[in-house]
Structures are given as structure tokens and as C-alpha cells.
């Protein structure tokens, strides 16, 4: 269908509007992170700062040891930010472990849904569908009490276990339909060659399911990386915080100004945004499959 000149112009304008809306917070966080407190305060009516600086990142990444030219007067940095490497490390370890665990557990369950005709497995599938609706706060209050009684607060393991459980249901929803599309005959051929049912799955179906595994893995990593409520409730010592918890701890701290906050936000959002752009196709397929199929 050919479009008239005017129609094209209108479509371009609409696109610019949408792009502008989507990029607005990213522009704000970038520009905010690349200037000093002084320049943010000096001119409150201009978008671009008089001068750009990387000092915010220097201060944060050195744990407050290097202050940079513009921070010579300001000596205050919250303890949580000084220990940012703990948060960075915890975020990486938690998101990676949760991704690995959910991929393994989810694949195992999804196989039984896709290949073994068992009535109770279908029932398990229904539980999974239902599970995504339970508001996390309902589960976190009792988990807090339990972990507290067991002395498991302030540990990254409790966070890993909780996140793995909350993200597993998506795995069956995304993986099972994909496993089902892989011809059963391939596994049967391997079984004739002497593979057990399980090994036929591991060696034939699983390697052919790369796209679905990538979809699910990417989605899990992003959700685990971004999650706040679980580590916020379970861990309150700087050594066990994740990046989102450190960010949350800055809310209401009147001594921390927007430039530092934006720099930390940028550090926290960069990995997941980059991951999503690299694995774009898989993330899209996973989101659509997880919502509609199953």
C-alpha cells in the first residue's frame, strides 16, 4: 500500500513522539549522571549542563576514596554506596545463579509437560499459570518470618531460593510449548540407538531448543537483576544488598543529590538494557510465548 506524502509525515511525527517518550527518562538519567551537583543547582532552567564530568562515577566506583575536583567540598557518601562493589557482586551472583537454576529446573519440568502424558503434570501446569498472579508481598511476609526464625536473613542464598521459586513458573510456560514443537521422532531415533528417555531429551531436544532457553534465560536474568522487593525485605546489611536495594536506600536521603543518584541508576540499568538489546529477538519471543501459549 502506497501512502500519501501527508500520511507519511504524520507517521514520522507520531514515531518521533513515541521515541521521545521512551527516551525521555534515559536522557534525564544520562544528563543527570554526567554533571556536578553545583551545575544542577546553578541553572535550574536549562537542559544541558555548562560542563560535563565523569566525577560521579569516579566517586561511586572508588567507594568515596577519590572525590574528583567537584567533590572536594562534599565528603558525605552513604555507606551503602561506599560498598557498591558488594552490591554489584551480589547482583551478578544472584542473577546468574537464579538464571542457571531456573533453566535447569524449568527444562526438567517442561519436558515432563511436553513429552510424558501424565495427568498430574497438567495439574502442575495449572499451578504454574496461577502462581504468576500471587502478589510477591503475600509470599515475602511469611518468608521473612521463616528465614528470620532460621537465621537466614542477610544471605544471598535466601534471595536466590526465593527468586528461583518465583521465576520458575514462567519457565514451564515458555519452554514446554517449544519442546513440544521438536519432532518426537528425533528422540525416538536416539532411543533406538540405546539412549535412555532422559538422555535422549538432554542430547537431542535440549540442544535444539536454544532459542527458547535463550528467551527464558534472558527474561529471568533481567527480572532477577531488577528485582527489589525480595532482597529489600530479606537483606538489610550493605554486604548483602543488591544494586536495586542500594538505590532504594538512597530514597529520602537528603544528603544525596540527583547527580549521584542518576549515576547509580545508570550503572544499574546499563547491564540489563544492553542484554535486552543484544538478545532482543529472544526476549520478544519469550514474552509473547509466556503470555499467550501454555
Amino acid at each position: 500500500m502506497r501512502k500519501s506524502h501527508l500520511a507519511r509525515l504524520a507517521l514520522h511525527a507520531a514515531n518521533l513522539l513515541v521515541i521521545g517518550f521512551f527516551m525521555l527518562p534515559l536522557a534525564a538519567v544520562t544528563i543527570g549522571a554526567l554533571q556536578s551537583e553545583k551545575s544542577l543547582e546553578a541553572s535550574t532552567r536549562t537542559v544541558l549542563p555548562p560542563e560535563w564530568t565523569l566525577d560521579n562515577f569516579r566517586v561511586i566506583l572508588s567507594g568515596g576514596a577519590q572525590t574528583g575536583a567537584i567533590f572536594q567540598s562534599a565528603t558525605y557518601l552513604p555507606d551503602n554506596v561506599k560498598k557498591i562493589y558488594y552490591a554489584l557482586g551480589n547482583s551478578i551472583v544472584i542473577a546468574s545463579s537464579v538464571t542457571l537454576l531456573t533453566l535447569v529446573f524449568g527444562s526438567l519440568s517442561a519436558y515432563t509437560v511436553a513429552r510424558l502424558r501424565l495427568r498430574w503434570v497438567v495439574w502442575l501446569m495449572n499451578v504454574n499459570l496461577f502462581a504468576r498472579f500471587v502478589p510477591i508481598i503475600v509470599l515475602m511476609i511469611p518468608l521473612y518470618v521463616t528465614f528470620r526464625q532460621l537465621g537466614l536473613l542477610n544471605s544471598i542464598w535466601s534471595v536466590i531460593i526465593a527468586l528461583t521459586g518465583f521465576l520458575l513458573p514462567y519457565g514451564v510456560l515458555i519452554l514446554a510449548p517449544y519442546f513440544a514443537t521438536i519432532p518426537r521422532e528425533l528422540e525416538e531415533a536416539a532411543r533406538i540407538d540405546g539412549c535412555s528417555r532422559f538422555m535422549a531429551f538432554v542430547r537431542i531436544t535440549l540442544p535444539l531448543s536454544g532459542p527458547a532457553l535463550a528467551s527464558y534465560g534472558a527474561i529471568v536474568f533481567i527480572i532477577a537483576w531488577n528485582d527489589l522487593l525480595i532482597p529489600l525485605i530479606l537483606n538489610n546489611r550493605a554486604e548483602f544488598m543488591t544494586l536495586p536495594v542500594v538505590i532504594a536506600s538512597l530514597v529520602g536521603d537528603v544528603h544525596v543529590f540527583f547527580n549521584l543518584m542518576m549515576a547509580i541508576c545508570l550503572l544499574a540499568l546499563a547491564p540489563s538494557v544492553i542484554l535486552v538489546m543484544v538478545l532482543r529477538r529472544f526476549v520478544i519471543e519469550g514474552l509473547v510465548a509466556g503470555a499467550v501459549k501454555g
Partner: protein, 320 residues
Amino acid sequence: MSQPAATGLDGTAVPAASGRWRRSGAELSPRLLGVVMNLPTMATLTLVLAYPLFYAAFLSLHKVTPGELRRGIFPWVGFDNYARILSDPLFILALEHTLIFTIVSVTVEIVLAIAIALLIDQRQVWTSNVTKLLILVPYAVPPIANGLIWSFLYDFNFGFLNRILFTLGLIDQPIDWVGNPRTALLALTVPYVWRTLPFAILLVHAALQGIGRELYEAAGVDGAGALRRFWHITLPLLRPIIVVILVLRTSFAFAVFEEVLAITQGGPGDATWVAVWYSYKRSFAPPFDIGVGAAAAYVLALIVGGLAIAYVRLIYRPVD
């Protein structure tokens, strides 16, 4: 059990069909294999889903404050906690806010999602392809970072939105975006819609791909205009996916938390107290009343659970 699967997953070559894997003598029956392969999932789901769901109900019927937590004994109080929250004006207010927030954000989201999905479907317009490329970005931003970024955008004195409007010459006095109790809740819906819109757009866009070109061409022959084609062909065919989005987004919007924490902390006054915020504040801030927090969370879960049942009935029909 998880070890061999892990090797297969990260792509490393599993050793060629050697004698190790060929031993088929001791193969499990499908029934037993189903149990064994589901053990890790069932154990995890029992621990962090089934058990907490029951334990939350238990806690909501008991007195659980720091004193009881220290002693480890929770006295039975029956439905006292429920009676307390249901007679607490702040809880009712929080439920009202949650409802308003959900209705506004989900409605806006569905309308925008349909519009933007149609927009990025215009492949011959190059800016549409740019939009399509960028659509996933908000999905990846951590909700709490999103909240903090918007609190910078909204800030009265130093905020980015006011800076833009000043630069464009549209205002000469700064606007107090979240300081007004009447509009603070609406101001919260914007960041939330920003972050959650990509998911809705993607679903609508995927559904659009499933609509055959022939339908439109036939309509074109009949002389139907673009608007009529949208109303009589596109929209009816999008209905199933709109229902999915409606139910999923509604249940998630009921649990909004991060943006409230970062932007308003429930304020100004109590203008943006929502259900999860109430539950969180009662449990983990003074008075640290976990019984009351659990009761509030349970009321929320029951509301969302009703939605979930509707969803499962709508979506999950056994394959014929």
C-alpha cells in the same frame, strides 16, 4: 540429576555416544521419570509458593509483632487483624488508590499499546523501524531506578521536565508535578505505564502479524476506509490478546510498589498509599505489625486470585 542437564544447557559438547550414556538397562518408567524430573521444581515451589501462601494465612490470624518474633510464639487472634484493617480508613483509601491507579494505567496502556503496535507495523516508514528497535528498552530498566529517574524528572526545583518546558518557553513558573495531592496518583501512572508498555505493545504487535493480508485487501475492494477496516477487522481480531493484556496487567498493577517507594513514598500526605505499600509499611516499618501486614496482603491476594481464575479459564483450554 541437574548436573548432566547443566552441561547440555551451556552448549558444551556432551561426550559422544559412549558406553556411559548407552546403558539403557535401568531406565525409569515414564511415571517415575515424571516424578523425578519434577522434584526440583516441586521442592522449590513448595518452599517459596505453597508453604508461604498457607503461612501467610496463619500469620494473618495471629498476633505477630517484634515481641512475638523474639519469643517465637504467635498468639491466636482470630479475625482481629482483618477487622483492624477493614476499619482502618487508610487501608480502604489505599485500596481505592490501587483501584484508580490500576484502571487508569491499564486503560491508557491498552489504548497506547494498540496505537503503537499499529505504528511499528508500518514497515515502509523508516522511523517506525527505529521505534520498533527501541521498544524493549523500558522493559529492561529496573523499576526502582525508573522510579528514581522519574523523581528527578518530576522534581520541583531541579527537575528535568521543568527544565525542558523552560527551555521550550512553555512555562515561566516551575510546575509541582507530584506535590499536589489531587494529581500525585496520576503522576505515578506515567512512569508505570512507561515501564510496562513494551510488554503490551509486543503482544498486540505479535497478534497483528497473525491477521492475514487478504482480509484487508478484500475490505479494500469493498471500499472500506482505514478507520472502518480498523474497527471491523483489526479490533475484533485483537480481542483475545486485549483480554490477556487486560488480565495480566491488571493483576500486576494491583501490586505496584517500586515507583511509589521511589517517587512519593505514599505522599503527599497519604495521597499515594496503595495496597502493597500499606502492607509493606505495616510489616517492615513501625509498628512492625506483621500480622496486620499479612492480613492486608491476603486481601490483595484474594482480589488478584479472583482475576487469576478468570484468566486461567479464558486462556488455558485443554488441547482438543
